[in-house]
Symmetry: D2
Subunit: 358 residues, 4 copies
């Protein structure tokens, strides 16, 4: 076992850079090592830090991070589709493709480690010097010509989550969609909705920096949730309840709010994670008393090489400009804690930070 | 306006037979009058009675009832597919087929009267001498040769609801399904699951009379919810969480229980109505913390001529024997209150009662 | 019965303007009269003319045309959602919403007149002074604020057909789509594919005027079918067979060509009509010998108020600019024959003509 | 390389038992060796023999066969879910689960050998003494308690093909389905249709032995295709064209016949293979001239452990009795050629033969 530098959560609100993160000397025949070129921290990394890994204590003192692109430095003997020096996007969830879940169409629900975005909870995440992945052919994707590192590093979680959510929402042509919470995933959901044929797209948030991107991504209406009657306002403006809702924030009452603006027969996709331990409460009246044909889906980030390849393809074709999400840029692993603090401090100028490994 | 005899809710826990239920002298060109041949009261009729129509006060002192078959006594000039003396099943929900909701594939979510199962809240339900329906061609179905009245009267709500629920669940071949609550709709859901290719079907209930029918309908496991660990028992016996859940009872905690036995990537269909005013609570942990790809659908009874015709066709082809649900038989409208009291008294021998109009 | 002016097919390759086109004095309670503001002739009108209505002889000497927008001049007593002077898009197919086909989700397959795009073959099409429609609430759509007549008249067939085709193709995010034949419907299919998340979009045609619009609509590759190896070229350039194919031209061999470039598991949507009487031939080898999971769908134009409204909404939201299709503009009904001759003469500068009624 | 006994195609209409079929000394870590307990020959084996492997010449002199159950004799180090002596069903197609096709939901369209039903064309099929499979965890399924060998050996192709076809047809509750050709796969399709909620099921064939099973499986109508007007007869008897068609025989004109009895908006699933080199011809008129919303799917056998497990589960739950297909029983590998000759001789008493390896 070799050791290397990595960013770890050392306790509640405490980050550290340690030099004893483990790395096996040998890799398996289908595996690969990747040297990071760019990282991006995520709200969920920040949440882990804020709570000192309360919900997942085994992650304490392990490397954090699941949004990374890099270049391959070593490759197993059974890897067919990649070679050393290839520039790749690394999957943030790690579906196990030889599994019954995969045969059931739910590969992403069979991961060996549901949270940290890697395939070995012992080793932890990708904010390290060198990252080991078990199944290169299945869980890496090549960065296409013309796609920048900044664009590519928005693929593993921001795009893979938002587009998966809208894929499952499946709005029809001209359908109205409300996105509740336009942080980085919500903004991507705005774009995904436009690219799934939505008509009216209501971006519900409060910060100008986000609204500006929402507008560029095709949102037709910008709605401030500080307006007490913003739900009525949306329904009025839309000429009736919306066809679909994406929840990307708002806490335990978000489902209820989303259902309040949703038509009978419509679908709400939830992309938020709820770790607070509090129950989610649904008022039967906003859910058609149980028989209004309103569907609620709790959707997780999509993964695997094909899904990431398709996201990258959308960027290459000019359909999505994910770099618009990036508000902060840093250089060097040592700056990762500073970038993560932007989340902890609720910096109002932040959408997404990236850190170049140089 | 003519007057006629009908069964009305006169107050909390109070039923009455009145002779001043209204009936228009004229019917519209697409309408029909139907003389009931058989009625069946429903839990929801009983619930209305128990609460004195608290949730829908405009139904007080109006005719109740939405499960009825009869023969046509009068027909509008623009009705093409039915004629006087035809024996028909009457829709329990009344989709409005010339509506945008219908064009959206959600016809059943556009009814002129969401509860009482008719198309005019002024006139009320079908426990009357003569029943007026606005759109005969669209919301009646012929009783096929060889299908009895007892079978046919199980179509409008029992079959139309349960089969709609399982249609939306769409279990795959060999999938495992748990039905939480095997009253009459739950029992029909057992049968519907078998006829949608389910393998293991867990019938969760407590009464022998229901379990016996569940077994005949194809349930592979009978589970008593009085066993404290019945959820663990199902998961163990199934070799893992089930692929699908149908909730047909259990109150405000039923969703949580259903989600507890459901696999990630699975679907829960709710067929219960929640009128108690209490919130439905979901523990995030049983819902995959919001990202386990568990879907929750709140499904209403399917309606319209085609859906009812297809239900009747399943009976005619020998696929479903809905008469097995019928535990109590009466004759004459005057017996309807007695039949309804079976529900109010939680009679343990009851699945469904029918009343012949003779 | 009143009489009015209209454009009729008088024989093979012969058009005439007659002043004895019939119009009822009375309209039905759900009906409306519409005074045309703009018309657009269609390839299928031209085909009818070229063959002298050989396939549908009852259309001879009747008014032709099914792409029209206008303003309401008279309205039936039971029309609720429109009033005189409203500017509306008129459905080109006329689904019968009170039908079992509609209840089956195939409303468009129940029309009282499959070809001429109206609801009464006796009266014929909409290239007339005043057009009568039976069900205004269901088969008209309001022209939204900010949408021009030129845009709106591209809705009834060009958009309603192409978007219906791509809706049924349902390409996934980043999927590759080939559009075989980029006349006006094919060009709209290019745009519809982009708005359904497609990545690579191959526009297969031969005329510069069309390729220019294809590029503006988001086609990533322009492919000339005069190149003998254009199919191999597409497969090579795409890195394998495409995920989906839309056939909008190419005659009886088009299915075979489309299947040749389609992956196993992919879908081909056909939007061409085949009236030549010749069989369509499929080489089993390009269809995976019957077991390659290649799907072939023969899709017709979508219709009804909701579908048209959603198309108009896409225009209003700036997602589609259908006016880019319009290459020729005329004024006055008398110019319709001249516009139709563009098709008959295979004018290489033509995509779509419009004629203002002024 | 070891050698063993196996049944090979030695030339046109010529079968031989050879003792030099190859078997590697070593197996890969995910692999397993299986000793056959029961085999079943298939029409496609017979077709290969009849043509002397004309379409797939590399199969000449290699072991044939793809329907087999057996017990595991050796297991690779990375196999987790099976052990020596387990009785298993062997997949007849061999999906490669670590593939982009699998990530695309089309695992079965990525096989290393599309015809012979194994994962190595060098070694050939499973009519051998010992059969080597590369990915035991993914492509074997345990035979459940209570399921016999005769039942189990109907899973890999007969059930896996027919149920996959009906899964993709997805008939709604009460829908009418016609099965064109009720040999063994067609008969299974009858049962699969019943277990997907079909109402009327038309079994189209000519032999009494098949009709008897069709009736037991739930067919409502038995139709002899020697009746010249059998298509009209079906449409009349069904009260209109059917909702779905499954083609399991009938040659190059079967698609056309199937489409002739199919409603607009309906789906035809083809389960036949077409190796004759002749084109499939479709008369546009029976396909709605290309715009009748009739869908044609060319479906291949489903595969993988989960799909086979679910089929076996249906047997274990008593939903399917596949042993009813078996008309001929033999003992010993030496009898396989005799069993195959039943197909070559078009024996009218044959549905399926099995050969026990004892």
């Amino acid at each position: 076992m070799k050791h290397m530098k990595g960013v770890v959560i050392a306790g509640k609100n405490s980050l550290a850079i340690r030099d004893d993160c483990p790395l096996p000397e040998e890799i398996c025949p289908t595996g690969a090592l990747i040297r990071p070129l760019i990282w991006s921290p995520c709200t969920s990394d920040a949440h882990l830090c804020a709570t000192g890994c309360a919900s997942l204590p085994y992650l304490l003192n392990k490397a954090v991070g699941h949004e990374m692109c890099g270049e391959i430095t070593k490759i197993g003997a059974d890897v067919h589709d990649f070679k050393v020096d290839d520039r790749v996007i690394v999957c943030s969830v790690m579906p196990v493709w030889r599994s019954l879940e995969a045969q059931d169409g739910h590969a992403k629900n069979r991961q060996d480690n549901m949270y940290a975005g890697n395939d070995d909870p012992e080793r932890g995440g990708s904010f390290v010097e060198e990252y080991y992945i078990h199944d290169a052919d299945m869980n890496l994707a090549r960065i296409p010509e013309g796609v920048t590192l900044e664009q590519a590093v928005m693929v593993p979680d921001m795009m893979c989550t938002a587009f998966e959510g809208v894929r499952q929402l499946a709005p029809g042509y001209g359908a109205s969609v409300a996105v509740l919470g336009v942080g980085p995933v919500g903004l991507m959901a705005v774009r995904a909705a436009v690219l799934h044929g939505a008509g009216n797209v209501f971006a519900i948030g409060s910060r100008k920096v986000c609204f500006d991107v929402a507008r560029e991504y095709g949102a037709t209406h910008l709605v401030d949730y500080h307006n007490e009657d913003y739900i009525e306002q949306i329904v009025r403006c839309n000429g009736g309840p919306v066809d679909g809702v994406i929840v990307c924030g708002g806490g335990e009452s978000a489902l209820n709010k989303g259902l309040s603006m949703l038509k009978n027969g419509g679908t709400l996709v939830n992309l938020s994670a709820y770790f607070g331990g509090k129950p989610l409460e649904i008022d039967p009246a906003v859910w058609g008393f149980g028989y209004g044909d309103k569907t609620i889906k709790g959707v997780g980030c999509g993964g695997g090489r094909l899904w990431m390849t398709r996201m990258a393809q959308l960027i290459a074709c000019g359909r999505v400009a994910p770099e618009k999400l990036i508000t902060h840029r840093y250089h060097g692993m040592d700056k990762i804690p500073e970038a993560l603090r932007l989340f902890l401090n609720h910096d109002r100028s932040l959408i997404k930070p990236v850190i170049y490994n140089d």
